[in-house]
């Protein structure tokens, strides 16, 4: 049997989804696929388009590759517009005259941005926001502009405004309607969104009808509005909605809706049976869907129909959850409350800047819609309740009221969801499929993602998918307990969040608000570390002292016989002869065992509790500061000798190592951190086995992250290349603070990375592309830590009250007689039980 030929016009997200579904279908071998793209590249992620402005390249956004198509026998032609359809002969004709016969034709031509017919709209710096080429034009225009205006305050407009803001422009949003996101939000939500966006420095102008665009006086253009006002700007971005790209269908006599769009039936067939239309060019039930998820569903339905299946398109849920300019916004179902007789509950918190509204049916049994601004945690629950027509709880308002004092949230559990509930709408994954995957052995969200594809597109459903997974695991008898310890029913990450958000300053406060019992040696040091990461108080302050592990408390490392070792900071391993002599002198005075550490510092062993302040007094006088060898904090930055001395060195690795060590010294983190900087790719500092590794190249610094030597070695991942000093520091700031925020207790960066959903790519999207829009916060938080650094030992020896804590006995100046040393290789070491040789009294200075 000869293969059926399927021609796909348009290779956007939906066109590609269709092809991907078809080539992965059981009957894939019965079809031959060819696709034409008007754009110079294959499908890319238009939803993530704005990431392009924060560093993602066109390659990063690609959804497929020529190689993938070739491997699967898909032919593709780029830069080729289909201009004709010969319905009689069943063939298409392209702009260059190429003819291609088809058995089935799929139109996935998408949409184009609507530009209102304003006189002056066709001038050079008047642009649209749709393709990568548009973005290139915007970047070029922005480089010659100071002020930018976005016309349109909808979803895409705000997205575009964010892009302009990232490009460093003063940004204005001009909207015809009385509020922002008029389609998704009600008035209250729109108002709060406006306030939040204005507080970010974006100017919002509503109820403005642009009459004309003329030359400006101070800036390039002046936009003159119908109400007589005007606004000057250097560039204008039109983002006033989309129109279906239906020109081809129109010309070749397929049915078109009154206001555009190719009419399709429930199987995505157009008025001509063997021609299908899917995505934003298609009109179903008089409706155009401007979201990717419904387009994906159409792609699936069309594949099903072509291959003889019986799936049909029955409409799509238009609920959305987004972060616009860093503001959380969500809209579910009938958000405007247009259903006759419907009732609303509204919760508004002017202090926390939160607005929530739910719309319920007249008889209060069903949820019809919701608007959430500022806090969208309830989105998953509300969306599922709405889509699945589930029963409302007795007091529906509980769905949007905040939970206090750890009371269980009033939201429904995932158990209440029907098996058919779609958890991931991008990839059409149901609760049942996730449960199945769990039963088949997927027990982590990463495994769920690979098994079902849930959560792999927009990621909005990951929280809900995790809940479904955990609930299923519990049903299977697998205990899912992520509590830190018996005192706190939270993970470290959650505790960190509570401390930050509620500005909690002490363990007692944290325990009173969120814990029980007295705490223990698990939660106390964890809390101490979190408090230090957030507020960077002196660790021996009365309220913090009892939380510290002995190492943090005595600011030295306890060794096997109860004595301590001391490591002064030797940033980057660079040390002057005078300082070397000073360390030697101290070691001699107190008869300490000395050793060069793996991190290029000098470790002094065998100091007793009461000797620590005496030793540190001498070290501080000699210009040393604490090396934090004891803390879950930044240890060393190893370096090679670098370009200053080395004949191969590309950059000054010693200088950078010192800069990094000085910047992050004192940062308390979930686990210890080790860094290294190599001056060239010979890698003498072994940077690729460190948490943060930096290697000089002729094009700048390469940054490697989340490596580990030690017990479970992990080679670091290459994170970014060609960085200058400032970008390098910026990325390290963000990455470390993100780790501090999100890692588990005592979790090394290597394990953290391995457990991070989305792995390296996700980390890049957060740190480099600022996908979560927290980069600024992370940098600020790091700056706080950097700015409040103090040498804990210096503070301590200046405080006589604190020094009392170092006495061996509160009631005697006697020495601890349990401590015995013997000599080995001309230095002391702890005596073992077997040691019957002569004891050296450790407290007798060797020089006496």
């Amino acid at each position: 049997m000869s293969k059926q030929k399927v021609v796909v016009v348009g290779n956007g997200m939906v066109g590609h989804k269709f092809i991907d579904n078809l080539i992965n279908h059981d009957q894939a071998d019965q079809y031959e696929v060819i696709t034409f793209s008007e754009e110079p590249r294959l499908a890319y992620d238009r939803v993530q388009l704005s990431a392009y402005f924060s560093g993602s390249t066109a390659d990063d956004l690609m959804l497929t590759s020529g190689q993938y198509y070739e491997e699967n026998g898909v032919k593709y032609v780029l830069n080729e517009k289909v201009v004709g359809i010969d319905k009689a002969e069943n063939k298409v004709i392209t702009a260059s005259g190429r003819e291609e016969a088809y058995d089935k034709l799929v139109l996935a031509t998408g949409s184009f941005p609507f530009v209102p017919p304003i006189p002056g709209k066709d001038q050079p710096h008047c642009l649209v926001y749709r393709t990568i080429e548009d973005l290139e034009a915007i970047t070029a225009s922005a480089s010659e502009s100071k002020v930018g205006v976005v016309v349109g305050g909808g979803l895409l407009g705000l997205e575009a405004a964010n892009a302009l803001k990232n490009l460093g422009l003063e940004v204005h949003v001009v909207e015809f309607a009385p509020r922002l996101m008029a389609v998704q939000l009600d008035e209250g939500g729109g108002q709060l969104l406006r306030q939040k966006i204005e507080s970010l420095g974006v100017h919002v102008h509503t109820e403005k009808n642009t009459k004309e665009i003329v030359a400006g006086e101070a800036l390039r253009y002046s936009m003159n509005f119908a109400d007589g006002t005007h606004l000057e700007t250097d560039m204008i971005l039109f983002s006033a909605g989309i129109r279906p790209q239906d020109e081809l269908a129109r010309q070749f006599d397929l049915d078109i809706g009154e206001r555009g769009g190719i009419t399709i039936n429930n199987f995505c067939q157009t008025s001509t049976n063997n021609i299908y239309a899917i995505g934003e060019c298609a009109l179903w039930n008089n409706r155009i869907y401007g979201l990717v998820a419904p387009g994906y569903t159409m792609a699936k339905v069309a594949v099903s129909h072509i291959t003889g299946g019986d799936e049909s398109f029955t409409g799509a849920d238009m609920s959305t959850k987004l972060k616009l300019l860093g503001v959380d916004v969500a809209s579910v179902g009938d958000a405007q409350g247009r259903t006759p007789g419907c009732l609303s509950y509204v919760y508004q918190d002017g202090v926390a800047q939160v607005y929530k509204r739910i719309v319920v049916s007249e008889d209060k049994t069903r949820l019809l819609g919701a608007v959430l601004v500022g806090d969208v945690d309830a989105y998953g629950t509300l969306q599922q309740m709405c889509v699945n027509g589930m029963d409302l709880p007795e007091n529906p308002e509980a769905l949007i009221l905040p939970a206090f004092d750890g009371a269980a949230s009033a939201g429904m559990g995932v158990d209440a969801l029907p098996e058919a509930a779609v958890i991931c709408s991008c990839n059409d994954v149901s609760k049942g499929q996730i449960c199945c995957a769990v039963q088949e052995g997927a027990t982590t969200i990463g495994a769920i993602k690979s098994a079902t594809k849930a959560g792999t597109s927009c990621g909005g459903c990951v929280a809900l998918a995790t809940q479904v997974m955990n609930s299923e695991l519990e049903k299977l008898g697998v205990e899912v307990n992520t509590d830190l310890c018996e005192h706190f029913a939270y993970t470290r990450q959650e505790l960190y969040h509570l401390v930050r958000v509620e500005r909690i300053q002490s363990f007692d406060e944290l325990l009173a608000k969120h814990g029980k019992g007295l705490g223990c040696d698990i939660c106390k040091p964890t809390a101490a570390s979190i408090l230090a990461s957030c507020w960077n108080d002196y660790v021996l302050k009365d309220e913090h002292a009892p939380l510290q592990d002995t190492n943090d408390y005595f600011m030295a490392n306890m060794q096997k016989n109860g004595t301590y070792s001391i490591v002064p900071r030797v940033a980057g391993g660079e040390i002057t002869p005078d300082k070397l002599i000073a360390i030697g002198q101290v070691a001699k005075t107190y008869n300490l065992y000395t050793k060069i550490t793996g991190g290029q510092r000098i470790d002094l062993f065998g100091a007793q509790q009461h000797e620590l302040p005496l030793i540190w007094k001498e070290l501080i006088d000699a210009g040393f500061e604490t090396g934090h060898a004891y803390g879950k904090s930044v240890r060393t930055v190893k370096s090679c000798v670098g370009s200053t001395w080395c004949r191969y060195g590309m950059l000054d690795s010693v200088g950078m190592a010192i800069r990094i060590e000085d910047r992050y010294k004192g940062l308390r983190s979930p686990h210890k951190l080790k860094f290294a900087v190599s001056g060239c790719t010979r890698e003498c500092a072994e940077a690729q086995s460190k948490d943060i590794g930096v290697i000089a190249t002729e094009n700048g610094w390469s940054l490697y992250v989340c490596g580990n030597g030690g017990m479970k070695p992990r080679h670091a991942d290459l994170f970014a290349t060609g960085l200058n000093d400032e970008m390098l520091i910026k990325y390290i700031d963000r990455l470390l603070m993100f780790y501090v925020r999100t890692a588990d207790r005592l979790q090394r960066t290597s394990v953290w990375m391995d457990n991070l959903e989305g792995g390296l790519d996700y980390l890049k999207s957060v740190v480099i592309d600022d996908k979560l829009q927290i980069a600024g916060e992370l940098e600020q938080e790091m700056q706080h830590v950097v700015g409040t650094y103090q040498c804990e030992w210096k503070t301590t020896i200046e405080d006589p009250e604190k020094l009392k804590r170092f006495r061996t006995f509160v009631n005697s100046d006697e020495k601890d007689t349990t401590i015995k040393f013997v000599e080995e290789r001309a230095q002391i070491r702890p005596a073992t039980d077997e040691d019957m040789v002569k004891f050296v009294d450790a407290t007798e200075p060797a020089m006496a």
């Binding site: 007295l518 040696d521 009892p546 306890m558 016989n561 109860g562 804590r805 005697s812 349990t818």
Partner: protein
Amino acid sequence: MSDSNKNWVPVCDAVELQPMLGVRALLENEQVAIFRVQDQLYALNAIDPFSNAAVLSRGIVGSLKDQIVVASPLYKQHFNLATGVCLEDDTVSVKTYAVREEGGKIQLATN
């Protein structure tokens, strides 16, 4: 034996013993770790039986399963402050001492 029949030795001012922070005292030739937890005083031998190092006064104090405990800073076993019994291995325990606050002083009993 009632408190009055014991031989009480003052070891430090009461204000020197901060809640949740152990101190070490020398009682004749024994090293004693003293703690104050929720206004209750506890004293036990400072030598950690798992390492034979005198480190118990330097452990973190807290509660586990309704017992008041100190965690050894060396190998992290927990000892019940009231009984001296190790939670991880109840065949191991450390000696406890009578302790009280009297006239602004912390006192230990020698027998």
